[in-house]
Every structure is written in structure tokens, then in C-alpha cells.
């Protein structure tokens, strides 16, 4: 018998044994009898009329089984790829929602848009045949940037979407903001770009589909963060397959970061194709293919203004953003730069009036959707940057201006002017902790040491809050969600007392198999090793919305906690019967049911045994078996946050920015496994640092070609780019989640870009630099220094 490993312990991750010994089971590891290979033919043009496709040479190529195009999709009457959110403008007019065919029809709208699916006996034969497909394109000018796309003379992606604007979205009290600006002693202004990112999970996307004529059932194995949602969207809305005839399996998945939380056209095409050819079909994306088809993230252009009184108190905040949607609306696309952005513009401050306008814009680029943080890093970046700008312009210390405006701990729950109500938090406590941990007092000494080597050193702060635990369904429904956002869990206690949990979230690197097992081990007193977590299979797991938005522990863990409580309640009834006591007198602790005040006990295993061998059992009032299920719909978002402090050194000769120190003190609520939380914070911070210093998806205006379409040109952060990080938690408990948890998957990515860029600006502020756009590449810094007001001391 192993040990209970409960909440707060840090066991090594259960799942790592199989990952580290090569025994993981990823989609591309799966082989099915008679499996054929599929490849997608993708548009090489950013924007073109699709005049015709000649399949003949491809069909005649050796080994080819089928070539499917948009015409075949239309002939079969299949649906458009659905968007899961419908937003409206201030007048309630719905967003423009043009169809997103799973294979292009009439037109292609980005490089990578799918034109055909070629199926052959082997991948080599499919690739060879794909080369022979003759696609007749009438190439049109592409528009890739949002500023360019909304110009009157810009190329139009859709005939019925004037100026390429999908929706002109608003939030907040515009009039109140205007009044406050009139009274302001100072107005800080900032124009910025939030750079486009590409998620780059380690495992490229892949799918296998199979149709079984005997049962009329389909199975889709896919690299997905939410198999049940894929089953619903694809089955009900695209392919017209009844839910009970469709199984979607997302086995081990090698990283998601949001990229795998959408229903992709590839999934629909391959499932449809498997029935047409009566063969299992497999597709595995190459890394290059991922660059032009995985949904991208971020890509905003923003003008922000902050109104302050003479003491530096924020009076009002106004933000106007153009957000890039790419060529079509992806599953969550329009929700990200609106509902997950505007409501976060209050930050940790008491700003009484906020107004936000977001124009959601189509361009000839890969569709943009959620990427780790999703909307909230963008909001935090705007706010935390402009706070620094205001402090600098008003001559107020950057920490002091934050303190003057921070929501005090006692003021929680705190209602912001932008919809959300923070339940708990202590931003001042996080700030104080971070100031000490980062040894800010001695920063001057370190800066002088850098200066003696000809380097400029800077310190940057980001005090931030985010909304996660997506999401309260009723609230989300009011904002335009077309589905629920609850989670479900089933706790199945076996006759011998071991436990299998079926949960609707999906583990693809987060350590759920460990964290969730700890929760069960803690609550039921069952050995950690006697708990298995099952996820990612619609035939095995009752239902679920999947993993994204830092929701797995917050929403899924809550469902698991509730289901576990139900097991205890039933166990007490059984124990009361066996111990011949009143149910009210039964206590459950450390895996034992006992009669209060006596030494009469029944172990958890004995109760489980009795439930499945009900010879001595209250069958008149209680069903046999010990298995409970719970659905949990959160009453509010959770609001993790904290303070990040970045310290950089800039080499003025080359423009190179080196991150030399990084400190994060985050409030993530109750910590189940501190090792896993630390890992999540590290990973999140690295992705934020990647955005701040390295990563940039660059398109060529006019041709729509992706210029940063490989790891040779798209710079991912690497170990030698990063210092050892100083990460700690300063937790207040969430008041409405069962365990007080807040979520930690995205905090690192949300807090860090602003901290890093604020540090870079601080390092260069003596030269008159007031803003640096991301990524702060050596070339960009050198250019700023060339244009700066003081000559650069190169020696």
C-alpha cells in the first residue's frame, strides 16, 4: 500500500514516467489497420480567387486513393467551421460572420488556407500527388496589417464585410471617461503594437480518422485540448454526425498553449474523408505546415490614454485597439481581443472610469485565436506600460504611483467599471514581497556595476491581475458564448478501493494526472498511486469543455472535489448501516469512517467492498456501487495576479537586451502541488519573455507571405536566453471555488511582457526613450539608440 499524497505536497509527476521513457502515446504513434496517408494542399498565396482545380494528374499518380476539394465539400452539403462566440457592437448588431469552409471555396484568404486533401497509400505518394495538383489561382493583393486593412482602398476579404471590420466592439462608460479626461491634471498617451505570436507546441498537430460501417461510428484521434467540444462542433455543426456515432480521442498531446483548443478544418476533412474512402486516414503536420495553419495569437495595434489628477490618481482610462482576426473567424477568435481584454483594463487599480473600443479586423493571415493568456497579456501590457509612462511624465516613482492607485486588500470583493468583480486579492502584498525578493534596494549598485562595463541596466515592474477559470456560463452567455463553460468529473471507486477519475479537462503538460490524484488522495485517504486520471476520450469520459484559460484545476478540480464529496456522503450512509449507527454520527477522516466518540471504524476499502458486494447493505434506500459524478459551473471568474520584476542589461554597442534577473510573486490561491505551480510559472514567464524579446510573426504586406515561417526565422526563447528565476507565491484564497484555487497556467505569460519591456525602457530612459515595441530585438534597440537624444557611449 502506498501513501496518501495530499494537497500541498510536491510528488514527482506521475505522467513523466511514460513521457521520459518513450512510452507516451501520441496521435502520430497510433497505427490503424489499412491506414492511408493524407496531405493537405495549401494556398501559396495570401489572397486569390480559386478559379479551378484539375485533379487528373494527381489522381493518376501512384498510390492515390482520393483527392478532395471544396467542391466535394459543397456537394456533400457540409457546414462551415463554427465560431463559438458571437459578439455584438454597441448597438447590438451582431459581428460579421462569413463562412469558413473546411476546404476553400471560390477564394483563398491566407497562405496555408486549405485547398485540397490528397489521400494515398503512403505519405510520400500523397506528397508526390499533391505536387501534381493543378490549382488555378487568380492572385489578388493581400492585406496583412490591421492599420492597412481598415483603409478604404484596402483589399476586401469578403464582399459583405466593408473595410474588413468584423465588429466594432465597445465596453465601458464612454461619456464618464470623456468627463474625467476634461478634469485631468495630466493625460498620458501611448501607441503600441502587441506583436503576433505563433504557439509552436513541441508536437505538431495530427489526426487519424476511421469509419466503422458495422456500427456506423466514426473515431477521430486528434491533438486537441478539448475532444468533447470537437465532437460537438464537428459532429453537430459541420459534418452532421449524431453525437453517439462519433468518438473523439485526444491521447497524449505534446503541448497546446491554446493552439490545440480550436476545432480545425483538418479534423473535419479527415473524418469526412475516412468514410468516403472507407479507410482509416492519418495526417501529421510538419513544423512548416504548423507555422501557416496553427492559429496565431495577439496582433493588436493600440492607442491608449490615461487621465490622472495632480497626485497621480488614475481618473479614467481610454483604449482604442485594432485586433487582427486573420482570414476567418476561428473557434474563440472574436472573444479574445474583446471579452478577455476589455474587462482586464482595470488591472489592480481603482480607476473609476474605463472605456475600450476594439475593431476586430479580417486580414490575409492565419486566423488569430487564443494563445496562452489570450487577451489578458494584451490588456496587462497596455495598462502596465501606460502606468510607467504616466509616472515618468509626472515625475512620480513607478512603485509609488502603483501604490497610490492599488485596490487595498480590505476593498475586496471589488467591482470594477468593466464588468468583472474581483473576489479576493492582495496586490500590495505581492508588490511588497517582490520588492524584497528582487532586492530592489541594491539595484543602484548593480546598475553602477553595469555602467562600469558600458552597459545600461533597467528594472521593470508589472503589477497585474487576470481573469481565469473560464468560465461562469451565465455570464459568458451574456457576453456571446454559444456554449457552456462548466466542467464535469466522475469518481469511480472500484470494489477494492482504488479510484479511477474521468474528467473533462485535458492534460497536455500541466500535470493533471498528478494534481488531480493528489486531490482525491487527500480527500478520500486513498494512496496516491491508487488513483488514475482518465481524460481525452469521449467514449470514456462523460463530458467536458477541455483545458484552456487556466480552467482545469479551477473548474475541473472543483467538479472533481464535488464528486469526491458525493462519494464520501454515500460512503457515510453505507458506513452507518454497517456500523449500526446514525448517519449523522459517522465521521470520515484519513480514509476511515468512524462512529463519533467510539473506536468503531470501517476503512474506505471495506465500504467500497460493501458497495459492490451488497450482502449486508441498505438496498431498500441505497443503490449499490460507489461512483459519483458532478458538474461544476463557476459563479465567477477567478482572479490570480501578482507582481513581476524584470531586470535587464542592454549592450548599447549591439542593442542586445539580456534578461539578468526575474522575480515573480504571484497570488494563485491554494497551491495543490508547489512543484507543478512553479513549473507553470516558469513556463508562462518564458513565453512572456519570448514575446517581449524574441518572438515575432512577420508577414509581407502585399503578397501575404509569412516571412518568419520556420524555427530559423521565428525566434523561440531558449535556456541560454534566461536567468534562473526567482518565483514565489503570496496567496489569498478564492472565495468561491471549493478549494480556494485560482489557477496558475497563464499568470506567467500575462505578467511578464510588461515587466520586461518596462525594464528595457528604464534602462534607456536616460537617453529619452519612452517606449519600446515588442520584441525588443537588437536591431530595434540599436535603431532607437541611433535616434535617441544622447550619443551612445560605446566604450
Amino acid at each position: 500500500m502506498g501513501n496518501v499524497i495530499g494537497i500541498g505536497a510536491a510528488p514527482k509527476r506521475k505522467e513523466d514516467q511514460r513521457f521520459l521513457t518513450g512510452r507516451g502515446n501520441y496521435v502520430s504513434d497510433i497505427k490503424r489497420p489499412g491506414m492511408a496517408a493524407g496531405v493537405f494542399v495549401r494556398s501559396p498565396h495570401g489572397h486569390a480567387v480559386l478559379r479551378g482545380i484539375d485533379k487528373s494528374a494527381a489522381l493518376a499518380s501512384p498510390g492515390v486513393i482520393a483527392v478532395l476539394t471544396g467542391d466535394d465539400v459543397a456537394d456533400d452539403g457540409l457546414g462551415s467551421l463554427p465560431c463559438g462566440w458571437g459578439i455584438t457592437d454597441a448597438k447590438g448588431v451582431p459581428m460579421k460572420e462569413p463562412p469558413f469552409p473546411m476546404l476553400a471555396q471560390d477564394k483563398v484568404r491566407f497562405v496555408g488556407d486549405m485547398v485540397a486533401f490528397v489521400i494515398a497509400e503512403t505519405p510520400e505518394q500523397a506528397n508526390a500527388a499533391a505536387d501534381l495538383l493543378k490549382v488555378d489561382y487568380e492572385v489578388l493583393p493581400s492585406v496583412v496589417g490591421v492599420l492597412e486593412a481598415v483603409r478604404p482602398d484596402a483589399p476586401q476579404l469578403f464582399d459583405d464585410v466593408p473595410n474588413n471590420i468584423c465588429c466594432n466592439w465597445e465596453l465601458g462608460d464612454k461619456a464618464a471617461v470623456e468627463t474625467a479626461f476634461k478634469k485631468a491634471a495630466h493625460v498620458a498617451k501611448l501607441s503600441l503594437v502587441n506583436n503576433r505570436l505563433i504557439g509552436n507546441p513541441m508536437e505538431p498537430r495530427a489526426a487519424i480518422a476511421e469509419y466503422e460501417p458495422g456500427t456506423d461510428r466514426y473515431t477521430l484521434w486528434t491533438t486537441s485540448q478539448f475532444p468533447h467540444v470537437v465532437r460537438f462542433l464537428m459532429g453537430a455543426l459541420v459534418l452532421n454526425i449524431p453525437q453517439h456515432k462519433l468518438r473523439v480521442v485526444a491521447p497524449d498531446v505534446g503541448g497546446g498553449f491554446g493552439v490545440k483548443q480550436f476545432h480545425y478544418g483538418e479534423e473535419a476533412v479527415i473524418t469526412w474523408a475516412a468514410k468516403r474512402v472507407r479507410r482509416p486516414v492519418k495526417w501529421v503536420a510538419s513544423r512548416s505546415e504548423g507555422y501557416v495553419s496553427d492559429r496565431h495569437g495577439r496582433d493588436h495595434v493600440t492607442e491608449a490614454e490615461l487621465a490622472l489628477d495632480e497626485t497621480g490618481k488614475f481618473l479614467a482610462f481610454r483604449v482604442n485597439t485594432l485586433a487582427n482576426m486573420g482570414g476567418y473567424l476561428s473557434t474563440f477568435g472574436p472573444n479574445i481581443p474583446t471579452n478577455l481584454y476589455g474587462p482586464l483594463l482595470g488591472g489592480v487599480y481603482t480607476t473609476p472610469a474605463i472605456y475600450c473600443n476594439v475593431k476586430v479586423v479580417f486580414t490575409n493571415t492565419v486566423p488569430v485565436d487564443a494563445y496562452r493568456g489570450a487577451g489578458r497579456p494584451e490588456a496587462t501590457f497596455v495598462l502596465e506600460r501606460i502606468v510607467d509612462v504616466a509616472a515618468s511624465e509626472m515625475g512620480i516613482d513607478r512603485v509609488e504611483i502603483r501604490r497610490r492607485n492599488m485596490i487595498p486588500k480590505e476593498a475586496y470583493p471589488y467591482q470594477t467599471p468593466v464588468l468583472v468583480q474581483y473576489d479576493s486579492g492582495d496586490p500590495m502584498g505581492c508588490l511588497d514581497g517582490a520588492l524584497v525578493a528582487a532586492d530592489v534596494k541594491k539595484f543602484g549598485v548593480r546598475k553602477a556595476a553595469s555602467a562600469s562595463k558600458g552597459k545600461f541596466r533597467g528594472l521593470g515592474y508589472s503589477t497585474y491581475v487576470e481573469a481565469c477559470g473560464l468560465a461562469p456560463s451565465r455570464f459568458a452567455g451574456r457576453l456571446g458564448a454559444r456554449g457552456g463553460l462548466y466542467e464535469s468529473a466522475t469518481v469511480r471507486v472500484h470494489p477494492t478501493g482504488q479510484v479511477t477519475v474521468m474528467i473533462g479537462t485535458h492534460n497536455h503538460g500541466q500535470g493533471h494526472e498528478t494534481t488531480f490524484a493528489q486531490i482525491v488522495s487527500d480527500k478520500l485517504g486513498v494512496a496516491f498511486e491508487n488513483v488514475d486520471i482518465v481524460f481525452g476520450d469521449t467514449d470514456r469520459v462523460q463530458f467536458g469543455m477541455g483545458t484552456y484559460g487556466s480552467r482545469s484545476l479551477v473548474v475541473g478540480g472543483a467538479a472533481l472535489s464535488k464528486a469526491t464529496d458525493k462519494v464520501i456522503v454515500k460512503g457515510k450512509k453505507i458506513a452507518a448501516h454497517l456500523l449500526e449507527a446514525s448517519e449523522a454520527d459517522i465521521q470520515f477522516e484519513a480514509g476511515k469512517f468512524s462512529v463519533a466518540g467510539t473506536d468503531r471504524i470501517k476503512t474506505f476499502e471495506e465500504i467500497a467492498g460493501a458497495a459492490y458486494v451488497p450482502h449486508n447493505y441498505p438496498l431498500e434506500v441505497l443503490e449499490p456501487g460507489l461512483e459519483e459524478q458532478a458538474y461544476y459551473d463557476p459563479v465567477n471568474f477567478t482572479y490570480p495576479g501578482g507582481c513581476h520584476i524584470a531586470e535587464v542589461e542592454v549592450d548599447p554597442e549591439t542593442g542586445t537586451v539580456t534578461l539578468v534577473n526575474y522575480t515573480a510573486v504571484d497570488d494563485v490561491g491554494t497551491v495543490i502541488n508547489p512543484m507543478i505551480v512553479e513549473g507553470q510559472l516558469h513556463g508562462g514567464i518564458v513565453q512572456g519573455v519570448g514575446q517581449a524579446l524574441f518572438e515575432n510573426a512577420v508577414y509581407d504586406e502585399g503578397s501575404g507571405q509569412l516571412l518568419s515561417g520556420s524555427l530559423m526565422d521565428y525566434c523561440m526563447p531558449r535556456a541560454d536566453h534566461l536567468p534562473m528565476m526567482n518565483v514565489a507565491t503570496h496567496s489569498t484564497l478564492c472565495t468561491h471555488t471549493p478549494m480556494g484555487v485560482k489557477g496558475c497556467g497563464e499568470v506567467g505569460t500575462i505578467g511578464s511582457p510588461a515587466a520586461v519591456i518596462n525594464a528595457v525602457v528604464d534602462a534607456l530612459s536616460h537617453l529619452g526613450v519612452t517606449h519600446v515595441d515588442m520584441p525588443a530585438t537588437p536591431n530595434r534597440i540599436w535603431r532607437l539608440l541611433q535616434n535617441a537624444s544622447l550619443p551612445v557611449a560605446a566604450e
Binding site: 510520400e124 549591439t654 524574441f694 526565422d713 525566434c715 536591431n779
Partner: protein
């Protein structure tokens, strides 16, 4: 990857014959450029002629005033060679900065020089040291060997067998790595000989090139200060999403100074 024939000859003349007799055949040394190109289906040679079984193409020999490195010698071997570290430490340092450990273990000096990638490191070392490229047919001076973007003086059936480096008084290499690829955004090799200084630049333009004004200045005074004020003309330099031409020009001066510092240290 598309299908191709594979040959692994053990004699240089056999390799040369295969190369000329099979249309669209290609030599493969370490394969660090060619294999990714095949995998991306950007090239589809009919046959690969693998040089790994040819005798005497691996290893480093001390000839006194020169050292000779066999064409199939991997970068990691050059970087770790006590001989190179002692006689031309700048060259060992250059080899240690190429790619990552996997690339350094597979990639070869001959492959790098014959490929002449405009951002590769070895061309700067070969040109900066005024080395001699030894082939299956002849010897070619570095100044005559590199002809621009992926172009060399090699004829279609010629195989690089070794590179012979004169031992300088001092030499150093400084590289500003492209953040993503870790190729040279700008790399400068500086070598001081009894009769003068050579400065070779990689990464900045379509091919490796020398900088005569810096060579003249350093020949008079082998110190970073001698070239601090020398500006490089941006004409013909590369401009791309990673670096604009004027930034590359600036980096040439900075890296040249750092290469001199490295040589002096």
C-alpha cells in the same frame, strides 16, 4: 523527402565519377544543410554520394607553419583539438560557435566551405586566415574560392579534401548570432600575420568578404581602437526581418573590434 539512390564510395575517384555520371546527384558530407533541404522537399537529387567512407578525409595534421584539416572533420573535433587550440585558437573558437552540439558533431569543415552559406562561420575563418582549399583536382586560394551566395570555384566534379591553414601570429573570431538560427548575423575573423592583417566578414552580405581599410589600419596598429571609426558601406549588405543593412554594417565594426580583442586576449 523524395526517393533517391544512395552511394557510399571508398575512393575519391569513384566519388567523383559517380558525381559526374549520375545526373542531378549530390555529395553529402555531414548533411547539416542538405538533409533538411531534402526533408522540406526543396531539393530532390536523383542520388546522394556519401563521402563518409572515403579514406584520409578526417583528422588534423601539424605541418609546422601550417595545419591541415581533413574535409570530413566535424566541427566538434576542430573545436576540441589541442593542436588547433594551441596554434590557431581563433579557429577552434569559431568551430565551437557553430550551431549546436548535434550540428557540431555531424557537420564538417569541407561541407561548410563547399556549401558557402552566406551566414556560415567557416568561410570567415578560411578567408580571414588566407587558407588554401585542397580538392580532388587542385589547390585553390581562399581569395579565389568564395564567389558569392552559395557559389564557389569548385567545378561540378571536384571534391574538397582538406583545408590548409597558415598559422598566424594572432587570430580571433567574434560572432553576433542571429537569435533564432544562431547562424552569423555578422561574424568577423581577424588574423595577424608577420606581413599584415586579414579581416573577413560573414553574415553581413551575400558572401564572405574582406575589409581592406580595416586590414590596413590593423596592420599599422593591431588594437580595437584602430578600427573603431571605420564605417562599412551598407551597399550590397543584406537586409531582412532580423537585421537591416545599416545595422549589419554597424555590427561589422563592433564584431571586428571584438575579434581583435579576442585575438589579443
Amino acid at each position: 523527402m523524395k526517393p533517391f539512390a544512395y552511394h557510399q564510395p571508398d575512393q575519391i575517384p569513384d566519388a567523383a565519377k559517380l558525381l559526374t555520371s549520375i545526373e542531378d546527384s549530390k555529395l553529402v558530407a555531414g548533411g547539416m544543410t542538405l538533409i533538411p533541404t531534402l526533408k522540406q522537399r526543396l531539393a530532390s537529387p536523383s542520388a546522394l554520394v556519401d563521402l563518409s567512407k572515403l579514406g584520409n578525409l578526417k583528422g588534423i595534421t601539424d605541418d609546422g607553419a601550417t595545419i591541415t584539416i581533413g574535409a570530413m572533420t566535424p566541427h566538434a573535433v576542430v573545436a576540441a583539438s589541442k593542436l588547433v587550440q594551441t596554434k590557431i585558437p581563433g579557429l577552434a573558437a569559431l568551430a565551437s560557435m557553430i550551431g549546436d552540439p548535434a550540428v557540431r558533431s555531424r557537420g564538417t569543415i569541407g561541407g561548410s566551405v563547399a556549401n558557402n552559406d552566406p551566414a556560415a562561420d567557416y568561410p570567415a575563418g578560411v578567408l580571414g586566415l588566407g587558407a588554401t582549399v585542397i580538392t580532388s583536382k587542385r589547390e585553390i586560394a581562399a581569395d579565389e574560392f568564395f564567389l558569392g551566395l552559395f557559389e564557389t570555384a569548385l567545378d561540378p566534379s571536384e571534391i574538397v579534401t582538406a583545408i590548409r591553414f597558415p598559422v598566424p601570429v594572432k587570430a580571433g573570431y567574434a560572432k553576433f548570432k542571429a537569435p533564432a538560427s544562431r547562424y552569423a548575423l555578422v561574424g568577423v575573423f581577424v588574423a595577424k600575420f608577420a606581413d599584415g592583417v586579414r579581416v573577413a566578414v560573414t553574415g553581413a552580405g551575400p558572401g564572405v568578404f574582406r575589409v581592406p581599410p580595416m586590414e590596413a589600419a590593423l596592420s599599422g596598429n593591431f588594437d580595437p581602437s584602430a578600427i573603431a571609426a571605420i564605417k562599412i558601406d551598407t551597399d550590397g549588405l543584406t537586409s531582412d526581418i532580423h537585421a537591416e543593412a545599416d545595422y549589419r554594417a554597424h555590427l561589422v565594426t563592433v564584431m571586428a573590434k571584438r575579434a581583435v580583442e579576442a585575438a589579443l586576449s
